[in-house]
Symmetry: C2
Subunit: 240 residues, 2 copies
Protein backbone atom coordinates (compact mmCIF):
# COMPACT_ATOMS: atom_id res chain seq x y z
CA UNK A 1 0.00 0.00 0.00
CA UNK A 2 2.86 2.38 0.69
CA UNK A 3 3.61 2.70 -3.03
CA UNK A 4 0.21 4.25 -3.73
CA UNK A 5 0.42 7.50 -5.71
CA UNK A 6 -1.97 10.41 -6.10
CA UNK A 7 -3.56 10.56 -9.52
CA UNK A 8 -5.94 13.13 -10.97
CA UNK A 9 -8.05 15.35 -8.75
CA UNK A 10 -11.50 13.76 -8.67
CA UNK A 11 -13.29 16.32 -6.52
CA UNK A 12 -12.51 19.36 -4.40
CA UNK A 13 -14.80 20.12 -1.49
CA UNK A 14 -14.74 22.80 1.17
CA UNK A 15 -12.38 20.96 3.51
CA UNK A 16 -10.91 18.14 1.45
CA UNK A 17 -9.62 17.18 -1.98
CA UNK A 18 -10.13 13.67 -3.32
CA UNK A 19 -7.62 12.14 -5.76
CA UNK A 20 -7.79 9.07 -7.93
CA UNK A 21 -5.13 6.38 -7.56
CA UNK A 22 -3.92 3.60 -9.84
CA UNK A 23 -6.42 1.33 -8.09
CA UNK A 24 -9.96 2.18 -9.31
CA UNK A 25 -11.39 1.06 -5.94
CA UNK A 26 -9.23 3.41 -3.88
CA UNK A 27 -8.98 7.20 -3.60
CA UNK A 28 -6.93 9.56 -1.45
CA UNK A 29 -8.57 12.18 0.78
CA UNK A 30 -6.36 15.20 1.37
CA UNK A 31 -7.40 17.35 4.32
CA UNK A 32 -7.13 21.12 3.79
CA UNK A 33 -6.86 23.93 6.33
CA UNK A 34 -9.70 25.90 4.77
CA UNK A 35 -12.85 26.31 6.81
CA UNK A 36 -16.29 27.44 5.68
CA UNK A 37 -19.59 27.95 7.45
CA UNK A 38 -23.14 29.10 6.74
CA UNK A 39 -23.30 27.65 3.22
CA UNK A 40 -19.86 28.96 2.38
CA UNK A 41 -20.63 32.61 3.19
CA UNK A 42 -18.00 32.59 5.98
CA UNK A 43 -14.54 31.44 4.87
CA UNK A 44 -11.11 31.35 6.49
CA UNK A 45 -8.14 29.15 7.20
CA UNK A 46 -7.53 27.31 10.46
CA UNK A 47 -3.81 26.60 10.78
CA UNK A 48 -3.02 22.88 10.70
CA UNK A 49 -6.72 21.93 10.72
CA UNK A 50 -6.12 19.46 7.91
CA UNK A 51 -3.43 17.68 9.88
CA UNK A 52 -5.55 17.56 13.02
CA UNK A 53 -8.68 16.35 11.24
CA UNK A 54 -6.84 13.65 9.30
CA UNK A 55 -5.34 12.30 12.53
CA UNK A 56 -8.57 12.40 14.51
CA UNK A 57 -10.59 10.91 11.63
CA UNK A 58 -8.15 8.01 11.24
CA UNK A 59 -8.29 7.33 14.98
CA UNK A 60 -12.10 7.42 14.97
CA UNK A 61 -12.45 5.16 11.92
CA UNK A 62 -10.04 2.66 13.53
CA UNK A 63 -12.02 2.76 16.77
CA UNK A 64 -15.27 2.17 14.87
CA UNK A 65 -13.77 -0.65 12.78
CA UNK A 66 -12.62 -2.31 16.02
CA UNK A 67 -16.27 -2.27 17.15
CA UNK A 68 -17.57 -3.80 13.92
CA UNK A 69 -18.56 -0.66 11.97
CA UNK A 70 -17.50 -0.77 8.33
CA UNK A 71 -15.74 2.41 7.20
CA UNK A 72 -13.93 3.56 4.07
CA UNK A 73 -10.56 3.83 5.84
CA UNK A 74 -7.70 1.85 4.35
CA UNK A 75 -4.76 3.63 6.01
CA UNK A 76 -3.32 6.99 6.95
CA UNK A 77 -0.69 7.85 4.33
CA UNK A 78 0.86 10.94 5.91
CA UNK A 79 -0.06 14.13 7.83
CA UNK A 80 -2.76 15.27 5.45
CA UNK A 81 -3.60 12.22 3.35
CA UNK A 82 -5.83 9.23 4.02
CA UNK A 83 -6.23 6.28 1.67
CA UNK A 84 -9.87 5.23 1.50
CA UNK A 85 -12.17 2.95 -0.46
CA UNK A 86 -13.92 4.81 -3.27
CA UNK A 87 -17.58 5.31 -2.43
CA UNK A 88 -20.70 6.02 -4.40
CA UNK A 89 -21.64 8.59 -1.76
CA UNK A 90 -25.28 8.84 -0.68
CA UNK A 91 -26.55 12.41 -0.97
CA UNK A 92 -27.96 12.25 2.56
CA UNK A 93 -26.25 13.88 5.51
CA UNK A 94 -26.94 11.95 8.68
CA UNK A 95 -26.89 13.90 11.94
CA UNK A 96 -27.03 12.21 15.36
CA UNK A 97 -27.76 14.35 18.40
CA UNK A 98 -27.36 13.70 22.13
CA UNK A 99 -27.77 17.29 23.30
CA UNK A 100 -29.76 20.07 21.59
CA UNK A 101 -27.59 22.67 19.83
CA UNK A 102 -27.24 24.42 16.49
CA UNK A 103 -30.06 24.13 14.00
CA UNK A 104 -32.25 22.24 16.46
CA UNK A 105 -32.30 25.37 18.62
CA UNK A 106 -32.55 27.87 15.74
CA UNK A 107 -35.04 26.00 13.57
CA UNK A 108 -37.17 23.98 15.97
CA UNK A 109 -37.15 25.90 19.23
CA UNK A 110 -35.27 23.36 21.35
CA UNK A 111 -33.32 24.78 24.32
CA UNK A 112 -29.53 24.59 23.91
CA UNK A 113 -28.22 21.91 26.25
CA UNK A 114 -31.49 19.91 26.39
CA UNK A 115 -30.61 16.22 26.75
CA UNK A 116 -32.00 14.08 23.92
CA UNK A 117 -32.57 10.58 25.23
CA UNK A 118 -33.03 8.58 23.08
CA UNK A 119 -30.74 10.44 20.66
CA UNK A 120 -32.25 12.05 17.57
CA UNK A 121 -31.13 10.95 14.11
CA UNK A 122 -31.90 13.32 11.23
CA UNK A 123 -31.49 13.11 7.46
CA UNK A 124 -30.63 16.17 5.38
CA UNK A 125 -30.47 16.51 1.61
CA UNK A 126 -26.88 17.29 0.56
CA UNK A 127 -27.62 20.30 -1.65
CA UNK A 128 -25.89 23.63 -1.01
CA UNK A 129 -28.24 25.56 -3.31
CA UNK A 130 -31.19 24.38 -1.21
CA UNK A 131 -29.20 24.91 2.03
CA UNK A 132 -29.17 21.21 2.96
CA UNK A 133 -32.82 20.97 4.04
CA UNK A 134 -34.13 18.43 6.56
CA UNK A 135 -35.94 15.57 4.84
CA UNK A 136 -37.89 12.52 5.93
CA UNK A 137 -37.49 8.94 4.71
CA UNK A 138 -40.11 9.25 1.99
CA UNK A 139 -38.50 12.39 0.56
CA UNK A 140 -35.18 10.53 0.41
CA UNK A 141 -36.75 7.60 -1.44
CA UNK A 142 -38.68 9.76 -3.93
CA UNK A 143 -35.57 11.89 -4.56
CA UNK A 144 -33.77 8.57 -5.25
CA UNK A 145 -31.12 9.31 -2.64
CA UNK A 146 -31.47 5.87 -1.05
CA UNK A 147 -33.84 2.95 -0.71
CA UNK A 148 -35.91 2.50 2.46
CA UNK A 149 -33.69 -0.47 3.38
CA UNK A 150 -30.59 1.68 3.00
CA UNK A 151 -32.12 4.44 5.13
CA UNK A 152 -33.00 1.98 7.87
CA UNK A 153 -29.47 0.58 7.68
CA UNK A 154 -27.72 3.94 7.99
CA UNK A 155 -30.08 5.06 10.76
CA UNK A 156 -29.24 1.92 12.74
CA UNK A 157 -25.52 2.39 12.06
CA UNK A 158 -25.72 6.05 13.10
CA UNK A 159 -27.17 5.00 16.45
CA UNK A 160 -24.48 2.34 16.94
CA UNK A 161 -21.73 4.78 15.97
CA UNK A 162 -23.17 7.34 18.35
CA UNK A 163 -23.05 4.94 21.29
CA UNK A 164 -19.42 4.03 20.53
CA UNK A 165 -18.30 7.62 20.01
CA UNK A 166 -20.24 9.06 22.95
CA UNK A 167 -18.63 6.57 25.31
CA UNK A 168 -15.17 7.10 23.78
CA UNK A 169 -15.29 10.91 23.97
CA UNK A 170 -16.46 10.74 27.58
CA UNK A 171 -13.18 8.96 28.42
CA UNK A 172 -11.48 12.07 26.94
CA UNK A 173 -13.61 14.31 29.17
CA UNK A 174 -15.63 15.45 26.14
CA UNK A 175 -19.40 15.46 25.67
CA UNK A 176 -20.40 14.38 22.17
CA UNK A 177 -23.22 16.86 21.54
CA UNK A 178 -23.96 15.96 17.91
CA UNK A 179 -22.16 14.96 14.73
CA UNK A 180 -22.56 14.49 10.99
CA UNK A 181 -22.00 11.25 9.09
CA UNK A 182 -21.90 10.43 5.39
CA UNK A 183 -22.29 6.95 4.00
CA UNK A 184 -21.60 5.49 0.58
CA UNK A 185 -21.85 2.29 -1.41
CA UNK A 186 -18.77 0.22 -2.22
CA UNK A 187 -18.94 -3.23 -3.85
CA UNK A 188 -22.42 -3.96 -2.54
CA UNK A 189 -21.75 -2.75 0.99
CA UNK A 190 -22.59 0.51 2.74
CA UNK A 191 -19.51 2.04 4.38
CA UNK A 192 -19.11 5.06 6.62
CA UNK A 193 -17.24 7.72 4.65
CA UNK A 194 -16.08 11.34 4.84
CA UNK A 195 -14.41 12.35 8.15
CA UNK A 196 -15.03 12.49 11.89
CA UNK A 197 -13.41 15.56 13.40
CA UNK A 198 -14.11 18.83 15.23
CA UNK A 199 -15.41 20.05 11.83
CA UNK A 200 -18.19 17.43 11.94
CA UNK A 201 -18.73 16.87 15.69
CA UNK A 202 -19.82 19.27 18.43
CA UNK A 203 -17.63 18.48 21.44
CA UNK A 204 -18.00 20.23 24.81
CA UNK A 205 -15.51 19.87 27.65
CA UNK A 206 -17.21 17.94 30.46
CA UNK A 207 -15.83 20.14 33.25
CA UNK A 208 -15.93 23.64 31.76
CA UNK A 209 -18.51 23.27 28.98
CA UNK A 210 -15.98 24.90 26.63
CA UNK A 211 -16.81 24.29 22.98
CA UNK A 212 -13.94 22.44 21.31
CA UNK A 213 -15.23 22.31 17.75
CA UNK A 214 -16.09 24.29 14.63
CA UNK A 215 -18.58 26.46 16.54
CA UNK A 216 -15.52 28.43 17.73
CA UNK A 217 -14.97 29.33 14.05
CA UNK A 218 -18.65 29.76 13.15
CA UNK A 219 -19.36 32.18 15.99
CA UNK A 220 -15.93 33.79 16.39
CA UNK A 221 -15.42 32.39 19.89
CA UNK A 222 -11.63 32.68 19.61
CA UNK A 223 -8.86 30.12 20.14
CA UNK A 224 -10.03 28.05 17.16
CA UNK A 225 -6.66 26.36 16.49
CA UNK A 226 -6.24 25.72 20.21
CA UNK A 227 -9.56 23.88 20.40
CA UNK A 228 -8.69 21.59 17.46
CA UNK A 229 -5.24 20.91 18.94
CA UNK A 230 -6.80 20.17 22.34
CA UNK A 231 -9.08 17.51 20.86
CA UNK A 232 -6.15 15.99 18.95
CA UNK A 233 -4.04 15.95 22.14
CA UNK A 234 -6.75 14.06 24.03
CA UNK A 235 -7.29 11.57 21.18
CA UNK A 236 -3.56 10.94 20.73
CA UNK A 237 -3.03 10.72 24.49
CA UNK A 238 -5.69 8.03 24.57
CA UNK A 239 -4.02 6.16 21.72
CA UNK A 240 -0.54 6.28 23.31
Amino acid sequence: MSAIQKGDLLYEGKAKKVFLTSDPDLVIQEFKDSATAFDGTKKDTIASKGIVNNSISCAMFKLLESKGIKTHLVEKLDDRNMLVKRLDIMMVEVIARNIAAGSLVRRLGFTEGQILDPPIVEFFLKDDALHDPLINDQHAVHLKLASMDELNHIRTKAREINEIMKEYFLTLNLKLVDFKLEFGRHKGEILLGDEISPDTCRLWDVETGKKLDKDRFRFDLGDVEGAYQEVLKRVVGKEG
Copy 2:
Protein backbone atom coordinates in the same frame (compact mmCIF):
# COMPACT_ATOMS: atom_id res chain seq x y z
CA MET B 1 -78.51 19.77 19.43
CA SER B 2 -80.37 22.57 17.68
CA ALA B 3 -80.69 24.52 20.95
CA ILE B 4 -76.89 24.85 21.23
CA GLN B 5 -75.76 28.44 21.80
CA LYS B 6 -72.43 30.16 21.19
CA GLY B 7 -70.66 31.02 24.40
CA ASP B 8 -67.38 32.90 24.90
CA LEU B 9 -64.80 33.12 22.15
CA LEU B 10 -62.18 30.49 22.95
CA TYR B 11 -59.75 31.17 20.13
CA GLU B 12 -59.54 33.21 16.95
CA GLY B 13 -57.33 31.89 14.17
CA LYS B 14 -56.60 33.14 10.67
CA ALA B 15 -59.64 31.53 9.05
CA LYS B 16 -61.89 30.49 11.94
CA LYS B 17 -63.18 31.48 15.36
CA VAL B 18 -63.89 28.84 17.99
CA PHE B 19 -66.59 29.42 20.62
CA LEU B 20 -67.38 27.59 23.83
CA THR B 21 -70.87 26.14 24.32
CA SER B 22 -72.84 25.13 27.40
CA ASP B 23 -71.47 21.62 26.87
CA PRO B 24 -67.80 21.51 27.93
CA ASP B 25 -67.12 18.74 25.39
CA LEU B 26 -68.43 20.72 22.42
CA VAL B 27 -67.30 23.91 20.68
CA ILE B 28 -68.50 25.82 17.61
CA GLN B 29 -66.19 26.55 14.67
CA GLU B 30 -67.18 29.71 12.79
CA PHE B 31 -65.65 29.99 9.33
CA LYS B 32 -64.48 33.48 8.34
CA ASP B 33 -63.89 34.98 4.89
CA SER B 34 -60.41 36.20 5.77
CA ALA B 35 -57.50 34.60 3.97
CA THR B 36 -53.82 34.74 4.83
CA ALA B 37 -50.70 33.27 3.26
CA PHE B 38 -46.94 33.22 3.74
CA ASP B 39 -47.05 33.29 7.56
CA GLY B 40 -49.70 36.00 7.54
CA THR B 41 -47.72 38.49 5.44
CA LYS B 42 -50.38 38.35 2.70
CA LYS B 43 -53.91 39.08 3.88
CA ASP B 44 -57.24 39.63 2.19
CA THR B 45 -60.86 38.59 2.16
CA ILE B 46 -62.35 35.99 -0.18
CA ALA B 47 -66.09 36.62 -0.49
CA SER B 48 -68.17 33.78 0.96
CA LYS B 49 -65.09 31.63 1.63
CA GLY B 50 -66.34 30.85 5.13
CA ILE B 51 -69.65 29.57 3.79
CA VAL B 52 -67.96 27.47 1.12
CA ASN B 53 -65.37 25.98 3.47
CA ASN B 54 -67.91 25.13 6.15
CA SER B 55 -70.05 23.27 3.59
CA ILE B 56 -67.16 21.42 1.99
CA SER B 57 -65.63 20.53 5.36
CA CYS B 58 -68.92 19.13 6.66
CA ALA B 59 -69.32 17.06 3.50
CA MET B 60 -65.75 15.73 3.77
CA PHE B 61 -66.01 14.88 7.47
CA LYS B 62 -69.28 13.03 6.78
CA LEU B 63 -67.67 11.13 3.94
CA LEU B 64 -64.72 10.16 6.15
CA GLU B 65 -66.99 9.14 9.05
CA SER B 66 -68.92 6.91 6.63
CA LYS B 67 -65.62 5.17 5.87
CA GLY B 68 -64.72 4.64 9.52
CA ILE B 69 -62.49 7.69 10.16
CA LYS B 70 -63.22 9.41 13.47
CA THR B 71 -63.60 13.18 13.13
CA HIS B 72 -64.62 16.03 15.43
CA LEU B 73 -67.79 16.80 13.43
CA VAL B 74 -71.07 16.75 15.34
CA GLU B 75 -73.26 18.69 12.90
CA LYS B 76 -73.43 21.70 10.63
CA LEU B 77 -75.35 24.41 12.49
CA ASP B 78 -75.76 26.98 9.74
CA ASP B 79 -73.92 28.60 6.80
CA ARG B 80 -70.79 29.50 8.75
CA ASN B 81 -70.98 27.42 11.92
CA MET B 82 -70.07 23.82 12.63
CA LEU B 83 -70.59 22.07 15.97
CA VAL B 84 -67.58 19.92 16.83
CA LYS B 85 -66.12 17.93 19.69
CA ARG B 86 -63.62 19.95 21.67
CA LEU B 87 -60.10 18.69 20.99
CA ASP B 88 -56.79 18.93 22.76
CA ILE B 89 -55.18 19.73 19.42
CA MET B 90 -51.79 18.18 18.61
CA MET B 91 -49.28 20.84 17.56
CA VAL B 92 -48.31 18.81 14.50
CA GLU B 93 -49.52 19.67 11.02
CA VAL B 94 -49.82 16.55 8.91
CA ILE B 95 -49.42 16.94 5.16
CA ALA B 96 -50.19 14.14 2.70
CA ARG B 97 -48.95 14.50 -0.87
CA ASN B 98 -49.86 12.66 -4.08
CA ILE B 99 -48.25 15.10 -6.51
CA ALA B 100 -45.25 17.38 -5.88
CA ALA B 101 -46.17 21.06 -5.44
CA GLY B 102 -45.59 23.96 -3.07
CA SER B 103 -42.88 23.64 -0.44
CA LEU B 104 -41.75 20.27 -1.81
CA VAL B 105 -40.72 22.08 -5.00
CA ARG B 106 -39.35 25.22 -3.31
CA ARG B 107 -37.56 23.56 -0.40
CA LEU B 108 -36.51 20.14 -1.66
CA GLY B 109 -36.08 20.49 -5.40
CA PHE B 110 -38.92 18.22 -6.51
CA THR B 111 -40.42 18.98 -9.93
CA GLU B 112 -43.97 20.36 -9.78
CA GLY B 113 -46.35 17.69 -10.97
CA GLN B 114 -44.07 14.73 -10.10
CA ILE B 115 -46.27 11.79 -9.05
CA LEU B 116 -45.55 10.58 -5.52
CA ASP B 117 -46.42 6.91 -5.32
CA PRO B 118 -46.56 5.88 -2.52
CA PRO B 119 -47.80 9.22 -1.20
CA ILE B 120 -45.57 11.25 1.12
CA VAL B 121 -46.74 12.07 4.65
CA GLU B 122 -44.93 14.91 6.43
CA PHE B 123 -45.09 16.33 9.93
CA PHE B 124 -44.61 20.05 10.58
CA LEU B 125 -44.34 21.85 13.90
CA LYS B 126 -47.30 24.24 14.29
CA ASP B 127 -45.35 27.38 15.21
CA ASP B 128 -45.79 30.57 13.18
CA ALA B 129 -42.73 32.24 14.73
CA LEU B 130 -40.58 29.34 13.49
CA HIS B 131 -42.47 29.26 10.15
CA ASP B 132 -43.93 25.78 10.73
CA PRO B 133 -40.72 23.82 10.11
CA LEU B 134 -40.63 20.21 8.90
CA ILE B 135 -39.87 17.79 11.74
CA ASN B 136 -39.27 14.08 12.07
CA ASP B 137 -40.86 11.66 14.55
CA GLN B 138 -38.09 12.03 17.12
CA HIS B 139 -38.34 15.84 17.09
CA ALA B 140 -42.08 15.54 17.71
CA VAL B 141 -41.55 13.20 20.65
CA HIS B 142 -38.79 15.28 22.25
CA LEU B 143 -40.85 18.47 21.76
CA LYS B 144 -43.67 16.58 23.56
CA LEU B 145 -46.05 17.18 20.66
CA ALA B 146 -47.12 13.54 20.56
CA SER B 147 -46.01 10.06 21.57
CA MET B 148 -44.50 7.69 19.00
CA ASP B 149 -47.72 5.63 19.14
CA GLU B 150 -49.79 8.73 18.41
CA LEU B 151 -47.51 9.67 15.50
CA ASN B 152 -47.83 6.20 14.00
CA HIS B 153 -51.59 6.40 14.45
CA ILE B 154 -52.01 9.77 12.73
CA ARG B 155 -49.60 8.77 9.93
CA THR B 156 -51.70 5.65 9.28
CA LYS B 157 -54.93 7.68 9.42
CA ALA B 158 -53.48 10.30 7.06
CA ARG B 159 -52.78 7.57 4.51
CA GLU B 160 -56.29 6.12 4.88
CA ILE B 161 -57.87 9.57 4.63
CA ASN B 162 -55.77 10.29 1.55
CA GLU B 163 -57.01 7.15 -0.22
CA ILE B 164 -60.64 8.02 0.56
CA MET B 165 -60.32 11.68 -0.46
CA LYS B 166 -58.21 11.02 -3.56
CA GLU B 167 -60.81 8.60 -4.89
CA TYR B 168 -63.69 10.91 -3.97
CA PHE B 169 -62.22 14.02 -5.61
CA LEU B 170 -61.47 12.03 -8.76
CA THR B 171 -65.21 11.41 -9.10
CA LEU B 172 -65.54 15.24 -9.08
CA ASN B 173 -62.92 15.47 -11.83
CA LEU B 174 -60.39 16.88 -9.33
CA LYS B 175 -56.87 15.70 -8.62
CA LEU B 176 -56.06 15.78 -4.91
CA VAL B 177 -52.49 17.08 -5.06
CA ASP B 178 -51.85 17.45 -1.33
CA PHE B 179 -53.64 18.51 1.83
CA LYS B 180 -53.14 19.41 5.48
CA LEU B 181 -54.70 17.63 8.44
CA GLU B 182 -54.80 18.40 12.15
CA PHE B 183 -55.61 15.85 14.80
CA GLY B 184 -56.53 16.20 18.46
CA ARG B 185 -57.32 14.18 21.56
CA HIS B 186 -60.89 13.86 22.88
CA LYS B 187 -61.85 11.52 25.73
CA GLY B 188 -58.99 9.13 25.06
CA GLU B 189 -59.44 9.03 21.29
CA ILE B 190 -57.61 10.78 18.49
CA LEU B 191 -60.03 12.57 16.16
CA LEU B 192 -59.47 14.40 12.90
CA GLY B 193 -60.08 18.11 13.53
CA ASP B 194 -59.84 21.51 11.85
CA GLU B 195 -61.27 21.70 8.30
CA ILE B 196 -60.95 20.14 4.85
CA SER B 197 -61.43 22.74 2.14
CA PRO B 198 -59.72 24.54 -0.75
CA ASP B 199 -57.80 26.40 2.00
CA THR B 200 -56.20 23.14 3.13
CA CYS B 201 -56.19 21.00 -0.05
CA ARG B 202 -54.52 21.55 -3.41
CA LEU B 203 -57.07 20.53 -6.05
CA TRP B 204 -56.36 20.57 -9.79
CA ASP B 205 -59.01 20.07 -12.45
CA VAL B 206 -58.36 16.73 -14.13
CA GLU B 207 -59.05 18.02 -17.67
CA THR B 208 -57.54 21.50 -17.66
CA GLY B 209 -55.09 21.34 -14.75
CA LYS B 210 -56.65 24.56 -13.42
CA LYS B 211 -55.82 25.15 -9.77
CA LEU B 212 -59.03 25.29 -7.74
CA ASP B 213 -57.60 26.09 -4.32
CA LYS B 214 -55.84 28.65 -2.15
CA ASP B 215 -52.88 28.83 -4.55
CA ARG B 216 -55.08 31.17 -6.65
CA PHE B 217 -54.99 33.56 -3.68
CA ARG B 218 -51.34 32.91 -2.73
CA PHE B 219 -50.02 33.59 -6.22
CA ASP B 220 -52.65 36.07 -7.47
CA LEU B 221 -53.90 33.70 -10.19
CA GLY B 222 -57.28 35.47 -10.34
CA ASP B 223 -60.83 34.10 -10.03
CA VAL B 224 -60.28 33.08 -6.40
CA GLU B 225 -63.97 33.15 -5.39
CA GLY B 226 -64.90 31.32 -8.58
CA ALA B 227 -62.50 28.48 -7.78
CA TYR B 228 -63.90 27.99 -4.27
CA GLN B 229 -67.48 28.10 -5.64
CA GLU B 230 -66.57 25.59 -8.34
CA VAL B 231 -65.31 23.08 -5.78
CA LEU B 232 -68.44 23.61 -3.68
CA LYS B 233 -70.66 23.10 -6.73
CA ARG B 234 -68.98 19.79 -7.53
CA VAL B 235 -69.18 18.59 -3.91
CA VAL B 236 -72.84 19.61 -3.53
CA GLY B 237 -73.70 18.16 -6.94
CA LYS B 238 -72.22 14.87 -5.79
CA GLU B 239 -74.26 15.02 -2.56
CA GLY B 240 -77.57 15.73 -4.34
